[in-house]
Symmetry: C2
Subunit: 338 residues, 2 copies
């Protein structure tokens, strides 16, 4: 049988109100009665019905995250973020509601459902577009949210890593290794972080006195397969690049496979670099030179910020920008070349 406040009320001979207030710790109930109520509640194994509580009190101790089925699940980057968010949510006693988007459903719909159905107190949004309708929606709905990433309009709290600096460091490293023909495998242009990483690439080249060339640019979709295809296109020209920088690790891993299948050796004949430092990258063959985003920690900090937004506390810092770290491994070559 279900144990409710009513059960305890009957058992104790006190009103439902008093039972509720006793358990909630209000000070207008006698310490002795509280003891009695608490002990009955424990004996019966009372657990409040959260649906009822939420209906009444308007907050749910739950934060939400939407997962577009196409890519995010099984994407190690996203999983790491999820871990961080989940970990920190537990710290605050919050649960995490994952709504994988229903197949074929408009993504924005999933957001609408989540927000308007009032099952969550706030949302974490990741991998945003330059013009992101989800953010527009959340802003309009005045629903608490936190973003991993920056877009064009930045009037919302976010946490991000400096992709420009990261990619600049990659290119600087490559030029120091003697490379001059450095190609870039771009992420989709509509993604918010693409322009920052591209800008860093250009800056890195110019700092070494190199003009970027159209023929050393290729576009991928973030997946390993797309990195593979892009690398093949880049290599298939009269003066192919001697280094390939990819905008994320998955594409870099695909690119390495492409390089190897062309009979070249990564790290000796050609350098390959990534961005993200997802766990597999350290164990790739050869280990991948990349830019570390502390994704797990970002998840945790994002949740910290979200809680502040939910509680309407002023944010310590509403725009957090982390400096990424260049991680040099073998894929970019162990010895100077050329």
């Amino acid at each position: 049988m279900k144990i409710t406040l009513k059960t305890i009320s009957e058992e104790s001979g006190l009103s439902i109100t008093t039972v509720s207030r006793a358990l909630a710790g209000y000070d207008d109930v006698n310490e002795e009665t509280r003891q009695k109520i608490v002990s009955i509640a424990e004996r019966l194994g009372y657990q409040p019905n959260l649906a009822a509580r939420h209906l009444r009190s308007k907050h749910t101790q739950t934060v939400g995250m939407v997962i577009p089925l196409t890519s995010y699940f099984s994407d190690p980057f996203f999983m790491e973020l999820l871990s961080g968010v989940g970990r920190q949510a537990a710290e605050y006693g919050y649960d995490l509601l994952l709504s994988a988007q229903q197949p074929g459903e408009d993504e924005l719909n999933t957001y609408r459902r989540m927000v308007a159905s009032s099952r969550i107190d706030g949302m974490v949004v990741a991998r945003i577009l330059k013009e992101d309708p989800r953010i527009t929606f959340l802003k309009e709905a005045r629903h608490p949210f936190i973003v991993f990433g920056r877009s064009n309009a930045n009037d919302y709290p976010y946490i991000d890593v400096d992709g420009e600096a990261g990619m600049r460091a990659v290119v600087q490293h490559l030029t120091e290794m003697g490379h001059r023909r450095i190609a870039l495998i771009l992420s989709p242009r509509e993604l918010a972080f693409t322009s920052a990483r591209y800008a860093g690439y250009v800056q890195g080249l110019r700092a070494a006195g190199i003009e970027p060339e159209e023929t050393y640019l290729a576009e991928g979709t973030l997946s390993a397969d797309s990195g593979h295809a892009a690398a093949l296109r880049l290599l298939d020209q009269t003066t192919p690049p001697t280094a390939i920088a990819a905008c994320n690790d998955m594409m870099a891993i695909g690119a390495m496979q492409a390089v190897q299948s062309s009979g070249l050796e990564v790290g000796r004949d050609i350098a390959v670099t990534g961005f993200d430092d997802i766990p597999p990258s350290a164990h790739a063959h050869p280990p991948l030179t990349t830019v570390r985003q502390p994704t797990y920690l970002i998840g945790r900090q994002a949740l910290d910020m979200l809680i502040q937004v939910i509680r309407q506390e002023p944010l310590d810092q509403s725009h957090v920008l982390l400096m990424p770290e260049l991680v040099i491994r073998e894929s970019s070559g162990t010895n100077r070349r050329r």
Copy 2:
């Protein structure tokens, strides 16, 4: 402002009852009125308040999973399972409530909270113990659940892989490669799958006429570090093993590092194998010979089964046992030895 049934009721001049029934698709409302109601609902962007709905109707379209913080998050195996469950949940229109267990909190408490607070319709339980209090609890509470794994008492629906056959295949492979001194790094004894894998190990040895020896057994905690330590212990004896089988991939990866740091080469001087085939294993150095558990698919199928339990439909199969597949890579040696 919040759009509720009342809003639509006032807007349309119809009762709340009729609005509710119209939107729910009952056939006791005129088609014309339904059109009107639906169009108003759409215009206003009505989204039902799920807390209220759940309070009244007793089911939540949500399944739950508890994640012990200590190990599971950031455990690739568990993440894969999560992906499968999440993916399939979306297929049925279910959401996924993740409750990471609070640090220091009794795990069973988290289950109690989840179940009794009536926020979920069913649970997925993974990595169970031989005697698992969570299962006892769920059975007693008569709350729908599905288990990945088998324990001693099997009177509940589960899906599992045949760990005995898997480990037998590993040992058979190793003996065929000429190994006679084959060590085993055990998972914790209280875990349900440990005994099956151990049994397979013994069977595999006996099939090749080898008696298992106490000195070739070590125990780990599933983590890479524990595998590392266990391997060092195994190697530090007068006649060390020539092959080390680990009960999961993480420990195998740790063991490989230990072997390498002892100046030996994995795959040539000594063979190492794992169990699970988590994604990093294919890219390990050298790539790890292991037993593939289709964890993602298991997650999906587990959810299929859970939905059936929730709907009180008879299960197609209440005990599913999958055959795992031996994946031979370089860590077990490419050429016959000895």
